[in-house]
């Protein structure tokens, strides 16, 4: 049967892992959100010569690459590629942040696009008919409405980021999953350490879920539809 009694003294190990997971997730969520918006605006960019729009094309290729290849592989590629191809020494933690950020930003860019496209076309027309430039209309009229469409989906993506951070264990980032593996090795217990990590992940994702729905409610209360 399951025996958690001998795991007391490994609790600090788990907490250490939890701290790394939280740090990794927060850094990734922030960077991926910023990059996701940038990628969206690049994809929506109309600048170019004739029909060829290089900025937009770059963003499209980036999104396809990131969504079309496994995250695990991307983490390994950044970790080894950073050293071998670019000759820069990046830590395992930094590699994980970079890889998960790149990956998540592609998904966030698509979430942002869907949220913006869901705003009625008449809104942009009304704003433009009043003399607003495209960017002013975007800022004053479209974005405040798009945010409400974006929030629920982006909350999901944040939860995904927390869970995806477990893959950083393969390159030796000492986060929750690696902590579980280390405790497994030290105690010869197969299941119990994994279950404890799982509970920690659940606590993280559940709290984030509550936080996101609280934010959603705040945004909704500002306009009664």
């Amino acid at each position: 049967m399951l025996d958690f009694s001998s795991l007391d003294r490994y609790i600090p190990k788990f907490l250490e892992g939890l701290k790394v997971t939280i740090g990794l997730s927060i850094a990734t969520v922030i960077l991926a959100t910023v990059l996701g918006f940038i990628i969206y605006f690049m994809k929506a960019s109309k600048s170019g010569i004739g029909k060829f729009r290089p900025i937009s094309a770059f963003a499209v290729v980036f999104i396809e690459l990131m969504r079309g290849t496994p995250l695990l592989l991307q983490i390994l590629l950044v970790f080894s590629g950073g050293k071998m191809l670019l000759g820069i020494d990046i830590s395992a933690f930094q590699s994980a942040v970079i890889a998960i950020t790149l990956n998540a930003s592609a998904f966030i860019a698509e979430i942002v696009r869907a949220g913006i496209e869901a705003v009625d076309k008449g809104q942009m027309e009304a704003a433009r008919s009043l003399g607003m430039s495209r960017s002013l209309a975007m800022r004053l009229v479209i974005m405040p409405q798009a945010i409400k469409n974006i929030l629920p989906a982006i909350g999901n993506e944040f939860v995904n980021i927390i869970k995806a951070s477990s893959m950083a264990s393969v390159i030796g980032v000492g986060e929750l999953t690696l902590a579980a593996k280390i405790v497994q090795g030290a105690t010869y217990l197969a299941l119990e350490p994994l279950i404890i990590s799982a509970v920690f992940y659940l606590i993280l994702t559940f709290s984030l879920g509550r936080l996101m729905s609280w934010i959603e409610r705040r945004f909704k209360s500002s306009d009664i539809r």
């Binding site: 027309e125 009304a126 003399g131």
Partner: protein
Amino acid sequence: MIYVKDLYKNFGKTPVLSGINQHFKKGEVTVIIGPSGSGKSTLLRCLNLLEAPTSGSIIFDGQNITDKKADINKIRQRMGMVFQQFNLFPHNNVINNIMLAPVHVKRMPQQDIYKRGLELLSRVGLSSKEKDYPASLSGGQKQRIAIARALAMDPEVMLFDEPTSALDPEMVGEVLDVIKNLIKEGMTMVIVTHEMGFAREVGDRILFMDRGTILEEGTPEEVFSNPKHQRTIEFLSKVL
């Protein structure tokens, strides 16, 4: 005030406007009628370049606005537009809907535009709705707010794109009354509408459009009582 010269517009390969030539004079109310799909709304939307013409030019107050160098945002500030679907900003309350463009585009002082906003609200008969959100208003109220929002920019011409077509019948009157009051004040207008009684009553000039061209134009008397073209006669017999 607005000259339209050899205006053509295609959506993809489909021609929507085929050679429109018009002069919309200052202080004049022009009403465009015609069957759906005839290009009425497209013509109106070309006037403030919400649709980019395929060819031809539009001269507003001596300036060719179809020219690439024309500052379209500046020009649009001088042309108010009212849409069939109102297009109020749902995340802003009524007064902020009215104030948004004057504050951020014209950079007028908050105090002045707020006073002007209240004045416009009382003009469209909705003084008590200042703090309400669009979602809590009826269709007729929304459209009156949309008119106030356009007027807040002090436009020289107002473009109405089927302003009553999305309204319940009992609300059409209140919106038309607001438009009539504006006409009394001498506002230049181009109105696309299916309200024939209204067109006849307020129009200085009626344009009948069919398949992307203006088939017939003249005073309400001429177009409604003595239509010359077979298509106009058919259309009027169906709608009157």
